[in-house]
């Protein structure tokens, strides 16, 4: 347990022994060498005075020769001991400093400090493994919501980046291999305040190891995992990982939705992505011929999603058709005009540049757009550093795996009700319903980020509402939407879903009566969420919102009020 202490002790053995020996020999020397007192008699220093003298001489303070002036013999000995004690001290201090500068030792110290910081956390936190693009976005978003994270990354450089990122609160972080269970344990895997583990490293094996370790040690704890292959996905699902995000599958699903139901797709997009696509993008035509360049993981996922719909798929790939198992395929990368012409780019509706090379992808998109300016373009961005180029590429869709995973995970973390709502929408409603909903969203938030949040009617989240319910007051859903500063104004938000036990009520009416245990999902501006918090947790504010009177609600006021009523 006390590794650091033991290493320090062991390394300091030699310097300490040297110091003791030098001191003892010096003291002994002063005791043995005869001196002379002020009367000229022979005087022998005793151990007390000898130790006193050596103590101040060794530390180079030098109070002078005591108790009597030294003889030449004593001076010679003093000269010798001055040098030897100073050297002994330098040796001791030098070895101490070199221990503190030793990288192994400082790693040990950092590990201990990290473990202590994590152990001292008394707020709920997420354990994030991997601080790459995805991890960075998730940690920043969580920090904005005042949720702490503990970050583990194998790269020292990423941990430095975290410390430079100016997050609103300090996050304990460690550079270590997260696939090792003892690292995870130090990072708070078994900490009672840990809400969930996010395995976001870019290696599937590591993510798998993290998920298995946490499911074995803490079966109840939420585990969210990213993966890039179907085999790992199946493996992760087999032992109950709570959410497995495959960026290629997720994005293929998302793109396929835009072809099948453009408005539903936009609702999905607005709820999941912080910067959403404009309403007008839904008018683009999406049915017809699609060209898919690159038949790798992304291409395959996309083909399997789109193959059911009224779209014609043309695959352009470098590998021979037998290898891909496709009957029709254009051979080539897709960066040359002739390959694209052969694929029929002139009358296609969309092109997907989905190879593993960013430069190729951009080139495909540019060439294709030159040949057919009305083309819908989807381009895959592999390297985060190319962001600037991609943002200015005027492509309709940019597929960046890190960002996709982050958005999907944030949806899960924000509120588990949001995925419930999305599944419900996809299963039960058509595009017309989605169009109406989209118009409503647009009128509420305009071009700003559409946030979503949820309340459960219980003591913890809505104490004021519970108090009012206990008094028997009927509470309507509309109270959430009144601005607690001025109840005539309504907040820029509206309810999406109400869950009461097993029943789901999408878009509940404002006059719905609330019951204890209801879960309500709202969407709107995040500013409105802050105001709403006020209403549900402060009884006086709730009282104002309900009745319009903003009396203070202390004992005296209540007593006076009662008297007034009586009189």
């Amino acid at each position: 347990m006390n590794n650091v202490f033991y290493i320090l002790m062991r390394r300091l053995r030699m310097p300490l022994i040297t110091l003791i020996v030098v001191y003892s020999v010096s003291v002994l020397g002063f005791v043995l060498i005869p001196g002379m007192d002020d009367q000229g008699q022979v005087y022998r220093m005793d151990f007390f005075h000898a130790f006193y003298f050596v103590s101040f001489m060794g530390s180079t303070i030098g109070f002078g020769e005591i108790p009597y002036a030294f003889t030449s013999g004593q001076r010679m000995w003093a000269m010798l001991t001055i040098y030897s004690t100073v050297i002994a001290w330098l040796y001791g201090i030098g070895s101490m400093l070199s221990i503190f500068q030793d990288p192994a030792f400082s790693r040990l110290l950092r590990r201990r400090r990290f473990a202590a910081q994590v152990a001292a956390l008394n707020q709920p936190f997420y354990l994030v493994c991997g601080y790459g693009v995805t991890g960075g976005i998730v940690v920043r978003k969580l920090a904005q919501r005042d949720i702490r994270c503990v970050v583990v990354d194998i790269e020292e450089a990423q941990i430095d980046a975290l410390q430079m990122d100016n997050l609103p609160m300090p996050m304990p972080c460690l550079a270590a291999d997260a696939s090792l269970p003892d690292v995870l344990d130090d990072a708070g895997l078994q900490h009672e305040k840990c809400i969930g583990i996010l395995a976001l490293t870019n290696r599937d094996n590591v993510n798998l190891a993290i998920a298995i370790a946490s499911k074995l040690l803490m079966p109840k704890r939420m585990v969210i995992c990213r993966t890039e292959s179907d085999v790992t996905t199946a493996n992760l699902d087999s032992f109950g990982t709570d959410l497995v995000v495959d960026p290629f599958q997720t994005y293929a699903e998302y793109l396929a939705l835009s072809v099948q139901a453009p408005y539903t797709h936009l609702v999905y997009d607005w709820l999941l992505n912080p910067s959403h696509r404009p309403l007008s993008s839904a008018y683009q035509r999406t049915r017809g011929r699609w060209i898919i360049c690159g038949y790798g993981r992304f291409g395959r996922a996309l083909c399997s999603r789109l193959i059911h719909d009224e779209v014609e798929l043309i695959v352009v790939d470098d590998d021979p058709p037998e290898h891909n198992g496709l009957s029709e395929q254009i051979h080539g990368i897709g960066t040359e005009a002739c390959t694209l012409r052969a694929a029929g780019v002139e009358d296609a509706v969309g092109i997907v540049a989905g190879t593993g090379n960013d430069a190729d992808n951009l080139s495909i998109m540019m060439t294709a757009r030159e040949l057919n300016p009305r083309l819908l373009t989807v381009v895959r961005q592999n390297v985060h550093a190319n962001r600037l180029v991609f943002q200015n590429s005027r492509s309709d869709f940019i597929m960046e795996p890190g960002r996709i995973i982050a958005n999907r995970i944030m949806a899960q973390i924000k509120t588990p009700l949001l995925p419930v709502f999305l599944t419900l929408m996809l299963e039960r409603y058509d595009d017309v319903w989605a169009h109406t909903l989209l118009n409503r969203m647009s009128s509420v938030v305009g071009n700003q980020e559409l946030d979503s949040w949820a309340y459960t009617l219980d003591e913890e989240q809505t104490p004021a509402l519970m108090l009012a319910l206990a008094e028997g007051k009927p509470l309507k859903l509309s109270l959430f939407l009144k601005d607690p500063r001025d109840r005539q104004q309504s907040l820029k938000a509206f309810p999406l879903l109400l869950r009461r036990g097993e029943t789901l009520m999408p878009l509940p009416g404002e006059l719905t009566l609330l019951e204890q245990g209801d879960e309500i999902l709202f969407c709107g501006l995040s500013r409105a969420a802050g105001r709403m918090d006020w209403t549900v947790s402060n009884y006086n504010v709730l009282h104002y919102v309900l009745t319009g009177s903003d009396d203070s609600n202390n004992l005296l006021a209540r007593w006076l009020h009662r008297r007034e009523n009586r009189g």
């Binding site: 390394r11 053995r13 005791v31 005793d46 151990f47």
Partner: protein
């Protein structure tokens, strides 16, 4: 033969023998107790303590503890001795000497335990 073991055992046994030599004699007779012998016992005991640093085994921890006890007792002896000689008005009298020697006896006991532990360790390791 292991050089490190020889040095280790040498110092531990030396600490005990020196301490024993100092303790021998009438308890309140200052002539029977040599100050140089005491000084050597103190220094050797301190070196022993440092030698025992950094051993993570249970036995190692016990050895370190006994050594620290011996150090503590001997340092207290040194302080009492210094007080008696330099500060006290009566000088080194029989009463002071008795307490010096009895404290050193305590340190001797700790040193004996230390040696016993050393023997136990050697027997356990049979190599």
């Amino acid at each position: 033969m292991n050089k490190e073991k020889v040095i280790f055992a040498f110092f531990i046994v030396l600490a005990m023998t020196l301490n024993f030599g100092f303790f021998l004699g009438e308890i309140d007779n200052a002539d029977h107790h040599n100050v140089y012998e005491f000084y050597a016992a103190l220094v050797v005991s301190m070196i022993c303590t440092v030698l025992k640093f950094g051993d993570r085994t249970h036995l190692g921890a016990l050895m370190l503890a006994t050594s620290l006890v011996a150090d503590l007792q001997l340092v207290v002896v040194a302080i009492i001795w210094g007080y008696a000689e330099q500060i006290s008005t009566t000088g080194m009298d029989a009463h002071m000497m008795a307490s010096v020697v009895s404290l050193a006896g305590g340190a001797l006991l700790a040193n004996v335990i230390s040696v016993i532990l050393l023997v136990v360790e050697t027997v356990l390791v049979r190599r």
